[in-house]
Symmetry: C2
Subunit: 209 residues, 2 copies
C-alpha cells in the first residue's frame, strides 16, 4: 500500500472516530482496526497520537473551508454570499452523525493539555473569522458585523450538535439577516440624518425607546 494511501486511510479513520466519539475515547488500535493500516505504519506516519490528532484537525480545516468557499462562490451578490455561509452551516448541521464543531469539541477535551491541539483550534477559528470578515468587507458592511456573525455561527454549530437539530442554523441565519439590516440602516442614518453620531459605534442609537 502506498504511503499516501495509508496516510489518507489513517486520517479518514481518525476523522470518523475522533469526531464521532471524542479523541480520548479512541485508541490507536481503533484507528488501526478502522483504517486497516498497521500500528507500525501508523507510527511511521505519525510519531505519536497527538500528531495524528493534529493532522486530523488540519486536514479537516482545509476541507471544511474549501467546501464553505465553494458553496459561497455559487453566489455573486455580496449579501447573498454572506447569508450563504449560514445556509451551508444548515446543510452541515443536518448531515447524519453531526456532533457539533470538531474544533470546539477538541478544545474542550484537550485545549488545556495539548498545545498543538490548541494551536490548531485557534488557527481554524481565526481563519473562519477572517473569511467572514472578508465577506463583510466585500459587502461594504462595517467590520464589527463580522465578529457578530462569527458568534452566531459558533453558537449555531454548538447548539445544533447538542440538540441534534439543524434548527439553530436557521435561527442564526434569521439573526444574521436582522443584523445585516440593522447595520445598513445605521450606516444610512449616519450619512443622511445624523452624521454627528458617527464616531460612537456603541449602543447609543439603540437604547432610545
Amino acid at each position: 500500500m502506498d504511503t499516501e494511501v495509508a496516510r489518507a486511510r489513517a486520517l479518514d479513520a481518525a476523522e470518523e472516530l475522533f469526531y464521532g466519539r471524542g479523541i480520548q475515547s479512541v485508541g490507536m488500535d481503533d484507528i488501526r482496526g478502522t483504517s486497516g493500516v498497521s500500528l507500525k505504519r501508523l507510527y511511521q506516519l505519525f510519531p505519536a497520537k497527538e500528531q495524528l490528532v493534529e493532522a486530523y484537525l488540519q486536514r479537516r480545516d482545509e476541507r471544511w473551508r474549501q467546501r464553505l468557499a465553494e458553496y459561497v462562490d455559487r453566489h455573486t451578490d455580496p449579501v447573498e454570499r454572506l447569508l450563504a455561509v449560514f445556509e451551508w452551516l444548515r446543510e452541515s448541521c443536518a448531515e447524519p452523525g453531526f456532533r457539533g464543531c470538531a474544533w470546539i469539541n477538541s478544545y474542550g477535551e484537550l485545549g488545556a493539555t495539548s498545545p498543538r491541539v490548541l494551536a490548531q483550534v485557534r488557527a481554524h477559528k481565526q481563519a473562519f473569522k477572517a473569511y467572514l470578515a472578508g465577506l463583510v468587507g466585500d459587502a461594504g458592511l462595517p467590520a464589527p458585523l463580522g465578529d457578530q456573525l462569527f458568534l452566531l455561527a459558533e453558537g449555531a454549530m454548538v447548539t445544533a450538535g447538542m440538540e441534534a437539530s439543524p434548527a439553530p442554523a436557521d435561527q442564526a441565519r434569521r439573526a444574521a439577516e436582522l443584523l445585516l439590516a440593522a447595520h445598513r440602516w445605521r450606516e444610512t442614518d449616519r450619512e443622511t440624518a445624523d452624521p454627528g453620531r458617527a464616531a460612537g459605534c456603541g449602543d447609543a442609537g439603540v437604547r432610545r425607546r
Copy 2:
C-alpha cells in the same frame, strides 16, 4: 469530617480540576489530593467517577443560573434585564481561569459516550434558553429573539474561552442590542405601516435594498 463537608470539598475539587483540565485528564486520585477526601469516602459519596462528573455539572448549573438571576435581578427595566445577561457573561468570561462553557466542553469530551453527562448538558442549555425566553417575553418581544440571543451567548462563551478574552461578550452584547432594535422596529412597522406582512415572519422585510 461531616458527610456534607466531604461532599462539598469533593465537588469543589471536581469543579476546579474538571473545568480547568478536562474531565478525562483528571484522575480520582487528583480529586483526592485536591479535596483532602480519601478515596474510600469519595466512593461512598459517588459510586463511580461518572456520577461525580454528573454531580459536578448539576451543582455548577444551579450556582451558575442563580448567579445569573441575581445579576439580572439588579435591573427592573425588561430590556435592561435582557442586556444584563450579556454584561454578566462578560464578567464571567473575564474571570481568571475562564476556559469556556463547562457544559459545551463536557459535551465535546463525553457527550458521545456518557448518557448521564449528555443529559446534564441538555438540561443546562434548555434551562438557560428557557430563562432567556422568559426575559424576552417579559420585554414584550417576539419569541424568536430568545433563540437568537441564546446563540449569541453560546458563541460568546465558546469564543471567549478559546481566545482567552472577554471581547466576544462585548460583541455579543452589541449584536443583542441591534437584534432587539430590529425586532422592535419590525413590530412597529407591522402595526403601523405594513400590517399585511405580519404573517410571514421570515426575511421578506430584510432582503430589499
